[in-house]
Every structure is written in C-alpha cells, then in structure tokens.
Symmetry: C2
Subunit: 304 residues, 2 copies
C-alpha cells in the first residue's frame, strides 16, 4: 500500500463557486474578491470563481459577470466558472474567462432535479457549448456528479458515469471531475471506480471531487492518489454543503487534503500556512464557523 | 492497494472515558449510564467506562467507583477503566472490573506533563500494577500516546514507542494501543509506524488510536487496516478533545470508522443505526453538538 505515490498533485479550488452557492444570504462582491485573492496568495493555481447560471435559480451568484471582470489572474493562475448552457458560456466569454466548466449527473433523476434536463438533453446542450468555447480559445472542464451514489436512485452504475465521461471528453472537455456529490463513498468502492476509469481514460483527463458528508473524503482521496489520480477538487475550510447543518455535508477541505499530501512528501505548490489564512478569510466573509479540521486546529506548534 | 482486507475488525469504544474527561462541567452519573447503555445496545463489546484517577486531578470522573458498580455488562461485553497506579487498580478491582488499562507516553516531556512521572517511573509503577491485576484474574490493556508526535517535543522516534510497548507487553498487558494523541499523523508515517510494530509484535497485541485533529484519522485507520491491524479505538460522534474548540481535536468518530469498514465489507458486530442513536444520546447527555460526520449526516436515505 502507498508504494506508488506521485511527486505532485494538482488541487482545483471550488470554494468561491461550490462553497458560496448554497449560502442562504448572498455574500457581498467585495467578500468574494477578498476570498479569491487570499486563495491566489496561497499558491492555488486553479480556482472556480462562480457559476453563470440564471440569477433566478441561484441569486447568490448573480454577481458572476462583475466578479469575473474584477478578479485579475496572475501569470500561471487559471480561473474558471460553471456554465450550464450557451447563454452561460456567452457571459463567461464576455467576462474574459479562459476556462469554463460544464456539469451533469451520472443518475437520470438527479440530473433532472438539478438541471431540469435528461442526461441526453444535457449532453446535447453541451455539444452546443463546448465546441464554440474551444473555438474561442477557451478550455472546458466537466463535472459528472453522483458517481458514488444518488440521493434519489441510490447506487449508480459507474459504467454509466464512464460512458457519460467519454462523451464529454469526446466533445473536447480537457478533464472530467468525478463527484461523490452526497459523500457516501468508501475506499473499496473508490478503488473500483478509479480502476474502471483508469482502464479507459488517461489519468490526466480525470479528477476526483469528494464531499466529506460521512467523513470518508480524505480516505477516498488517498485511494485515488494511490490508484493514479493526480487532480483533486477541494474547498477551503470545507466551505460548501448545507449551512443549516454546519459541519455536515461539506466539500473535502483543501487544507486537510494539502496537509495529508504534504505529509506524504507530495508537492502541491500551495503554502499551507497561507491556505489556512485563506480559510480564515472564508470564515470571516461567510460569517460562521467552517468545518475543515486543519482550518480549526492549525498546524502543530510545539508547546513549552 | 486494499488487496488484503480482513473479514472483521474489533472496535474499542473510549467515549465514556476519553470523551467525558475533558468536559468542563462534570456529566451527571445518570447521563453517563444512559450513554453506556446506548453503546452496549449498538453491539459494541469493548467499552472503557471511566478512569480511576484522583478526583482532584479529574473531577469529571470522580464518580468512577459508583459508575462501574452500577453498569452491568451483558454476556460478551468487556468493560474497562484507566488505572494510573496501584490505588486506581485497587479501586477497579473493588468495583468488580474484569479489565483495566494503563497509560503512558512515548515522549518524555508529555509523559511528565500528563502523569508527573518519567517514562522509567511509569514503567516501574506499572510493574507493580499489572502482575497483581493478572493474579486477580483481570486483563490489562496499555496505551502508548504521542507515537505520531508530541506537543512538546515534536517528532517522536517510533522505536522508542516500540521499546516501551514491548516492555508493557512483557509485563503482561494483552494489548498496546498506539495513539496519535494530537492528531498529526499522515498515511505514509502511519505505514512506517505500523510496519515497525508489526515486524516485532503480533497484530493481535496491537491497536491503533487516532485523533481526528487534522482530518487524517480515517485515512490513517485505512492504512492500519490494510497493514494488518485489527483493533481500533474510537469515540462515538467524535466525543472528546477540547470542548472550547468544537469540531477540532476529537477522537476518531466510531460511526465514521464503522461506516467505512462496513462499506468495505468488513464486519464489526455493530449496528450502525443504533450506534448513531448512541451518538444522539451522547449529544443529549453532553449538551452540545458533536463533530462526527456520520453522526451529523446519518446514513443515505433515498429522497423522492
């Protein structure tokens, strides 16, 4: 076990989008910018800023256009945003983004509830988004959610997720991020899913996106690293999930992931002290405690 | 990875002792009994009830004698308590316990701060506790803490922990539980420590005791299971740690451990639904939210 660890892993930060979209009260634009600036300062080079969905559906992200225009990406930093459809893509392009992300579910019911489309309809919509984005010189990432389980259907056949992923890659997406959206995954299941995907798709075209709903996110990430995955999504301080059940249901905390990786000698390019500082900014911006463990405990300091 | 999983793992529950000893306000005796009864109902068969330390040092556990006399262990359930010295052992014997546990640190400074003894002094005290306990027909377990790191000394040489463990086993302890007391461990370090111990000591004489201070407890436990450990300490709902930093610094939550193990087809004999119920009792008894993830999220329920 742990005989085949990589030298480096890439972390894709989702807190400004996945973390803030569920907050009951929208966060002021200035707070979002402070969070993003702190994330960039920590050394994160891939950050998902927001989502170009309709403000009627997600009023928390109604400032997407302004936010993207206001944030400057330093050399080497890629900023992205979710785009559910052609209209979202046009807004992202107009705002000057170099990368966007499309998203859908591996389970029919969740896709319908989340996007009001069937899986085929989602793929059809993306076939009208991804090629124009590529022609405009942008990169497109894709999310496939509910790969480890669906809140409506229960178990999901990972072969369906693989089929969807292949179609998204065939459209021209550079990477598909596989999501344990409801945080039910356990390590053997993760190994099975990783193996299925790695047998069919090059590792660099894949990422893992764990939610820590039942505490297994980091153990699952460890399995993913060992199996050959090199790209992991995370959210600073575990920002995300339902604010009505603090501590539950959040994203894997970026600090916890980075702490584990650095502890195994795996580089991320991230300054963990500065990342913890970014988590404090997140907590200040959001106005409540956040569940990430390293966020709460900090690094070890010798006492006298 | 995960090619060599066992059919069964034994869970040693520490919440009544390790969980309650740090509470600012002592928990009423009746609340402790309700928690212990709920833990027994969940199928846990090894539970550490309390500590026979001086009430001057740990007033939270001043009711140890009465608690142990009041709790009845059903057939197949082993109850235990910490005993720091001969006086504690005599109290445990008088109260009718079949098992006790002794404890010390792998780092000199932590042992001194925690027990006011040098490591040699601790071993000397236990040489006057363990043999009489065995003669009285009791079993003795041992804890070695700070194996993954010391809050005063930083890194700890695991060879020192191994040497101490061998001496405790030579005294007649049936098992040594190795503790990441401050929750700094990462998986490669865990693999290194596990290998060192398993090369020198049979697995059944060893247990792992992780704190989830930095989120790595379950990932470390996964490494331990894979390496051959079959005994794990945990605390329901993550009870334990410092109540002034809720969510931080607690024990590995028993529900999270059991959820992961069951998800990999490893039996524990524990009914996870009833264990979650015991976590609710713990929360009610202690009067505050507890950090365990499965405790907060529950099992997956299909929505319609």
């Amino acid at each position: 076990m742990l005989e085949h660890l990589p030298d480096r892993v890439s972390v894709y930060e989702v807190s400004p989008r996945d973390g803030l979209q569920n907050e009951a009260a929208p966060i002021p634009l200035d707070g979002k910018k402070r969070l993003i600036e702190a994330l960039i300062l920590s050394g994160l080079t891939r950050i998902e800023l927001t989502s170009f969905v309709s403000p009627r559906w997600v009023p928390q992200l109604a400032d997407a256009d302004e936010l993207v225009r206001d944030v400057n990406a330093p050399e080497g930093v890629t900023l992205s945003a979710l785009c559910p459809n052609a209209k979202g893509f046009e807004r992202a392009r107009a705002a000057g983004l170099a990368e966007i992300a499309v998203f859908m579910s591996a389970s029919e019911t969740h896709n319908k509830k989340n996007t009001n489309k069937s899986i085929d309809q989602s793929l059809s919509v993306f076939s009208e988004v991804v090629p124009p984005a590529l022609e405009a010189g942008m990169r497109v990432r894709a999310y496939v959610s509910t790969v480890w389980g669906c809140p409506y259907e229960g178990e999901v056949d990972p072969k369906r997720a693989l089929d969807i992923s292949k179609r998204l890659l065939a459209l021209g997406c550079y990477q598909v991020s596989l999501g344990d959206t409801i945080g039910v995954g356990t390590p053997l299941q993760t190994r099975r899913i990783c193996r299925l995907f790695l047998d069919a798709v090059p590792a660099e075209k894949l990422a893992l996106h764990f939610h820590d709903t039942r505490g297994t996110a980091l153990a699952n990430a460890l399995v993913g690293v060992e199996m050959g995955f090199r790209d992991f999504d995370a959210s600073v301080a575990g920002l995300g999930g339902c604010p009505y059940a603090p501590g539950a249901a959040g994203n894997l905390a970026t600090e916890d992931l980075v702490y584990m990786l650095h502890g195994m000698g795996i580089e991320t390019g991230i300054d963990l002290e500065k990342l913890i500082e970014a988590g404090r900014v997140a907590e200040s911006v959001i106005g409540r405690r956040l569940p990430g463990k390293v966020h709460q405990a900090g690094l070890m300091r010798k006492r006298s």
